[in-house]
Each structure stands twice: as structure tokens, then as C-alpha cells.
């Protein structure tokens, strides 16, 4: 089995059943975990910020930094692997917040809001999610089975 690590502002895909895709230290960032049980493929993005308009230049070189440029890229990349939209199982993790999240550090909330809007517009259903809270998460997606886990504060849970 090989583990593919998704860095901040990065996307990883695999159609190898033995692969596991992992991302570490999700704070206010969000990971979208996509699995296709028919094609047996998986993909994950770890995006950092909601909107590419804050740094249009960065969005060109690093589209996976932003929800609005990164999420479409993740789905398009899955389609290129031969996946069909109706088969995709979509899960979401991250979007945490500091204790007194009054606006300045609302990155996590904004990251999540834009994702919900995009998914609503394009009729994508979130199968499961683990978002919010003042914690850091590690998300794993097992390509062969579609199993997803979240490790946080010393405990691992199924997503």
C-alpha cells in the first residue's frame, strides 16, 4: 500500500485499490474526500482559503489553494479518471475555528460556507462530514474500499 500525502493547497488522486490518501493538520482548511465505488478511485483536496479573488495570481499557479478553483478541479480530475458524477461519494472534514471566532479568523467558517454553496448549486450531496471546533484533524481515504477516517485529539473515528 502506498500512502499519498495531500499537502496544503494540493490535490491527490488514485485509482489503485491499495492506495490510501491522507492529509494532516486540517485546521481551518477543508479536505473534500471523493470516492467512486464503481470505478474504484479516490481523490482528495486540502484547500486553505474560500475565494480565489483574494489572490488571483496564486489561483493560476495553485488552484487547489481555494475552494472556488480547487473543488471544481478535484471533480474534473475524477471525471478524467473515468468517474461519473452520480457515482461519487463525497465527504468533508476540517473547517475548524479558534476559540473566539468573531470574524477575523472566520476562515474555517467561510471555507465551509462557500463549499456548501457550490455543492448546492451543482447538486452534490455530502454523505458525511466532520467540521468545526477548535481542533486539528487528519483525514484518510482508502481507495479500495472508500473507507474514510478522521484522527483528532488522539482518537480515530469513521467518517
Amino acid at each position: 500500500m502506498s500512502a499519498l500525502t495531500v499537502d496544503i493547497s494540493d490535490i491527490k488522486l488514485s485509482a489503485e485499490p491499495d492506495d490510501m490518501i491522507v492529509t494532516y493538520a486540517l485546521g481551518s482548511c477543508i479536505a473534500v474526500l471523493v470516492h467512486d465505488p464503481v470505478r474504484v478511485a479516490g481523490g482528495m483536496i486540502h484547500y486553505m482559503l474560500p475565494l480565489s479573488e483574494t489572490s488571483p495570481e496564486k489561483a493560476k499557479t495553485k488552484p487547489a489553494m481555494f475552494a472556488d478553483t480547487g473543488i471544481p478541479l478535484l471533480f474534473q480530475s475524477m471525471y478524467k479518471l473515468g468517474c461519473r458524477k452520480q457515482d461519487l461519494v463525497v465527504k468533508v472534514a476540517g473547517g475548524g475555528a479558534l476559540y473566539d471566532d468573531k470574524g477575523l479568523f472566520s476562515i474555517g467558517k467561510r471555507n465551509y460556507t462557500i463549499l456548501r454553496k457550490m455543492f448546492w448549486k451543482s447538486s452534490v450531496i455530502i454523505k458525511a462530514e466532520d467540521v468545526g471546533g477548535a481542533k486539528s484533524r487528519t483525514a484518510r481515504l482508502y481507495v479500495g474500499t472508500g473507507r474514510c477516517t478522521i484522527s483528532s485529539q488522539g482518537a480515530e473515528t469513521e467518517l
Partner: protein, 289 residues
């Protein structure tokens, strides 16, 4: 509770920052210093020289051409900037492979330190304020207290974590409740022992409570590091057991007048530089956290 003597003995056990750094900081304050003076101080320490050249040549400092010697670095980068880089070069070898208590690898601690240094500077640029002296160095060294109290945090970690995760305390408050001191007080002790400039000591001491910093402190600098620290943890750069269990002072937000969008821009624009700079000094930082 830990007795103050126990802390002091831990501080004494810490490796010293290369004495060259203190000399370099002195040189940086003296306008008559030359590139040759710098070279004389730094070159006898080959590890420091090598590290310094690696950092100087990272993308963040944007040199027009590669610096091959300390003298060239000073010529290209200036006296003050080189002095800040020297502090980074001296810190790198001191960080232990894994920080006890905080459950963080050296590569993650380094990533966080570098992130706070870069984000603090970027933030001052975004806000259009004059960059305070020593912003990079103070940002880089803000958490040195953690190097000295890690062992105590480890012993009491169950209690500290319970207060954070169930009691909703910030990590720094939990440290204080359980240990009687926190990493900022110890950070001030460490940076004083290392004879670092007062501005660096002040940031180590007040970066979780800028509003309480005494009048002599450069409050702009403390505020910048306070926000950069929170931003770095929010983005998961070098997450330790404290994770996001922290607050940002309302006073800091008001004083800096910063908005969420600008903070996001700072984050987006800094990511590559932070990674590049962190990589220069932690060759085995593949996983990075």
C-alpha cells in the same frame, strides 16, 4: 506547580544560541559595521555560515544573485537583514528532534517558527505599516519557551489537555493553571539567557497577551506576531497539542485594523515562501508536520 529554580535549571541545560548571533545583533545596531565585520564574526562557525547561506538564498529573500559568502550576503541583503537571518541559522540546530509535551516534531516546530516570522512580516506589508525592527527574528523565536518547558508539559499533559479539551481553556492558560508558569514567561527567560535583543524578549513574553505588554514594548511588533501565530495555527502550520485552542485579543484587531480578507491574502501569498524557507533547514521535512 513547578518551582522557578526547576525552570531555570532547564533553561541552563538548553544549548546556547551561537554567540556569533549576539555579536551580529550588536553589529547590526552599529551603523559603521561593514560586511567584513560580519564575516569575521560568522565565518569561524562553519555550521552557522552554511545555514545562513542556505536561508539567504531561499526565495523569500529574493536576492538578485546567489550569495556564495557571508560578505556577499551582507552586501546583497544589508546588515540588518543578515543579522535576522543569522538568528534563524543559529536556531535551527538547537531544535530537538521531537519536542516533549507538545507532541511536535522538529520539522513542525520549525515550520511554525518560520511561518510566524514570514506571516508577521507579510502582515506589516499588507497593513501598510513600517515593518518593526526585528520582526523576522522575533516571529521566529516567539515560542522558544516551549524548548525549555516541554518536559514539564509532558509530565502534566493529561491534566493540561483535560483543561483544554474539556474545560475550554487556551493552551497557554492551561499551562499556567497546571504548571504555575506558561511558555511565554519561560520564553522570556530563555531569550534573556541567550542575550537576545529586548524586542525579541518582549515578543516571547507577550505574544499571547499583547494588551498586557508594558509600555516599553513595541506593541505593533507584539500584535503582528500575535496574529501571525494564530494564523499559522489556524492553517495547520506546525500544529502541536494546543491546536486551535487560542484566542485573538480584540485590542489587537482594533489596533491593527485588519480584516478577514486581508488576512486570507497574507496567508495565500506566504504559503510557498514559508515552505521553501522551512525546507532549507529541515532536509528531512518531507511530511512536514
Amino acid at each position: 506547580m513547578i518551582a522557578p529554580e526547576q525552570i531555570l535549571s532547564k533553561v541552563k541545560q538548553l544549548p546556547m544560541l551561537s554567540t556569533a548571533v549576539v555579536r551580529v545583533a550588536e553589529l547590526a545596531r552599529d551603523e559603521r559595521s561593514s560586511a567584513a565585520d560580519f564575516e569575521k564574526v560568522i565565518r569561524p562557525d562553519p555550521a552557522l555560515t552554511a545555514n545562513l547561506l542556505r536561508i539567504v538564498n531561499s526565495a523569500y529573500f529574493g536576492l538578485r544573485k546567489r550569495a556564495e559568502s557571508v560578505r556577499q550576503a551582507v552586501t546583497l541583503l544589508g546588515v540588518r537583514r543578515t543579522s535576522e537571518v543569522a538568528a534563524a541559522a543559529a536556531l535551527a540546530p538547537i531544535i530537538p528532534g521531537r519536542l516533549p509535551g507538545y507532541q511536535v516534531e522538529a520539522s513542525a516546530f520549525w515550520l511554525h517558527s518560520v511561518a510566524v516570522a514570514v506571516l508577521s512580516e507579510r502582515l506589516s506589508g499588507e497593513l501598510g505599516v513600517k515593518r518593526p525592527d526585528l520582526t523576522f527574528t522575533a516571529g521566529l523565536l516567539h515560542d522558544v519557551g516551549k524548548l525549555a518547558i516541554g518536559a514539564f508539559v509532558e509530565e502534566a499533559s493529561a491534566e493540561i489537555l483535560a483543561r483544554v479539551r474539556e474545560g475550554g481553556l487556551t493552551l497557554v492558560s492551561a499551562e499556567r493553571e497546571v504548571l504555575g508558569v506558561d511558555h511565554t514567561e519561560v520564553g522570556a527567560t530563555v531569550s534573556e539567557a541567550w542575550r537576545l535583543p529586548q524586542a525579541v524578549v518582549d515578543v516571547a513574553r507577550w505574544h499571547h497577551a499583547p494588551g498586557e505588554a508594558p509600555a516599553r514594548a513595541d506593541r505593533m511588533l507584539v500584535d503582528l506576531v500575535h496574529v501571525a501565530d494564530a494564523l499559522s495555527h489556524s492553517l495547520g502550520m506546525g500544529t502541536d497539542i494546543g491546536e486551535m485552542a487560542r484566542t485573538v485579543e480584540v485590542g489587537t484587531e482594533t489596533r491593527l485594523g485588519i480584516r478577514a480578507r486581508r488576512l486570507e491574502r497574507v496567508a495565500g501569498e506566504s504559503l510557498d515562501e514559508i515552505r521553501d524557507l522551512a525546507r532549507q533547514l529541515t532536509p528531512a521535512s518531507g511530511g512536514n508536520r
